[in-house]
Homo-oligomer: 449 residues x 2
Amino acid sequence: MKQTDVLVIGGSATGLVAAMTAKSNYPDKKVMVIRKEEKVMIPCGIPYIFSSVQTSDNNILPDGGLVNLGVEILVDEVLSVDTKTKTCKIKNSEDVVFDKLILGTGSLPVVPKWLKGTELENVFTIPKNKVYLDEFHDKLKDFKRIVVVGAGFIGVEVSDELNKAGKEVTLVEILPNVLGATFDQEFAKEAQTLLIERGINVMTGCGIEAILGTSKVEKIKLNNGVELEADAVILSLGYRPNSDLAKDMGLVLNEYGFISADQYRRTSVKDIYAAGDCAEKRDFATGKISRIMLASTACTEARTAGLNLYELNTHSAFRGTVGIYSTCIGDTAFGVAGLIESAATSEGFKVVTGSFTGINRHPGKIADAHKETVKLIVSKQTGVILGGEVLGGKSAGELTNVMGVIIQNHMTVHDLLMTQIGTQPLLTASPAGYPLIKAAEVVLKSLNK
Amino acid sequence: MKQTDVLVIGGSATGLVAAMTAKSNYPDKKVMVIRKEEKVMIPCGIPYIFSSVQTSDNNILPDGGLVNLGVEILVDEVLSVDTKTKTCKIKNSEDVVFDKLILGTGSLPVVPKWLKGTELENVFTIPKNKVYLDEFHDKLKDFKRIVVVGAGFIGVEVSDELNKAGKEVTLVEILPNVLGATFDQEFAKEAQTLLIERGINVMTGCGIEAILGTSKVEKIKLNNGVELEADAVILSLGYRPNSDLAKDMGLVLNEYGFISADQYRRTSVKDIYAAGDCAEKRDFATGKISRIMLASTACTEARTAGLNLYELNTHSAFRGTVGIYSTCIGDTAFGVAGLIESAATSEGFKVVTGSFTGINRHPGKIADAHKETVKLIVSKQTGVILGGEVLGGKSAGELTNVMGVIIQNHMTVHDLLMTQIGTQPLLTASPAGYPLIKAAEVVLKSLNK
């Protein structure tokens, strides 16, 4: 029997940040992480192991931060947790008794039960599992035609990487556009055009009916009757919270299977916290249960849990999930923060939007200049900025974070118009034509009508 | 005699944005801009005409925005303004009678009176004047050795560009480091090292005593006795407000020569506004008179003036100047927002700082990965973030704006630690190692001690 003060289950972004925060914040406490994987994948980096960084070994979440702080790492599998005796049973090691427990068990790829053929050889998902991914990577050389099902971020990024690796990629999506759940149509369409230009066969507006084959996958049948030949199929249909352990422990789960957790990330059982993909989240704008899963949000939640273990800290409450995403296709980055227009409208907000297209350098003759478009989604009633979308060069990734901070401060479009920004010819748009501000001007004009 | 409702004097960033805002906000009013220059330089782009964009013709502030809105442009010189009759006398055109006047007369390069030899041929400054700059540009081919005096942003950027254009450049600075007034030492030193690596002869800690020569400049004498041979000298010793016209009009100026102006950018005389480099500013953190001049801040001020012409708009008050700067040397960008450590301390704040160095991509094996360092300057008493500095790849330009928005929202380091950011392998640092957040963690540790 082993003892620790703080036990963290899960070794990905959540577990890492939770353990580091706990140990930094309570240096006298013993902190231990149990995880299944010998080597942990950087979750968002997974699509890039297929071409850009070549191998999963170039995508490892380093242990240095944990080790240097004095966090103990145990690579093993948790069998069960007794919440009364605060004891964790482990497959190949002695039991661990803890005082506080943080669950960061993450998420697993969705494989729909109704879908036939998912058991066939060469049907894959994208889990955060190095061994699985390495096997898939090894097999890639045998595949020519690959069908990716689901054009969310993972589907789009994996498709683009496999295309770069020389595969014939078909990307199938049931929505009218790729990235259609996270971007308004005008941005999603630009992403789609880029993917097509890069040689990916994009088929939108069609679902899948079955995966066909005898032992190996041979074809995929779409709901419009089309059959596509395929050497391999990748299902990127989203992720579900990995909450089976929590369920077995008797923790309350919500209707989507997330572990219920409050603003301090406390679950229904005292001294047990949950953070990241496995934990319940509420939307920042509405307080409704949210199903968004993001490594960056997971890190904030993990920090929240770690800062509130032994005493609640009113400074450190998690105020709800803001979806902040970005991706990059070729030289073009796409970013979104908060609610897109379609989501805001369907939630019941009356919104005014404003878009502006400029250039991300000034003058535009600077060598690496790129078109930059910003769209703002603003509450008509209050002027509060609910969301923003951007398309631009690579700096659009950080520009997305500018919008994220704006939204998290409940700034109005008036506040934004009074906000000073820094501009530089080689780095940003011009001060007089900064698309974020110009989009706010467009919104103001509509609000004043 | 001509009549307009709104008259804007000055055609650079301030004049452009003020006129566009006024016309957008009050579409029924006649708006007119008077400016001296036929073609207006993009102010921040000026250093780049010497190499990156080759000619001043590639650095023109376009008139399209004004023209499309229906703003009248008059290229001429204002001789005087009678504030009682609201009449503007113009060199080559009939008088203009106005209802509201916005002064955006900008700034002029400082040429110290005590400095001998500034009248010599081939001693230059960097004004926002295309004709002057074109003459200088034409002469460049005759120069081999150029001494740039003053290593603020303009001095650094011009030196780097002239070096790229094949000149032998010596950059002289009286402070211990280049950019020493705007960056704390650790960042300034990195900038200096980069300039030296790129072949610029950097001489810091020495002032200039005189510029020597008979008709043309021949040498520059430093206050340490060293004499440098020079075919040309560029003085980049800062700018002073161009407020002579305002003075003649009887407007109140402050002790540094800026036109006194309130939060709505109203001067001491009714219906007359001032914005941009010529207008008085107060520091965001302290309310003290500030001497910072920035095109991006000028644009915010110009918007403020334009939004408050006929009715004060409480949403649109200018709350003080936040210095937000960035620049780029080679592939390395440097940015700063708010108060640096030395400035905050000398103002009387007790501060805690935190720095973190990571990588601006994740995993670090992504091809264009660049070191990224963030330093935060935080009030020890309240945890309010007063300033931030960053060094990184080109996206550090927008990361500077993330810090700018944080500061302008009076966010505390606790707020920042609860803030969600968006991360993507090809675009940003990792969620678990995002330097801005990690720097906040370092600060928190000190605050908790």
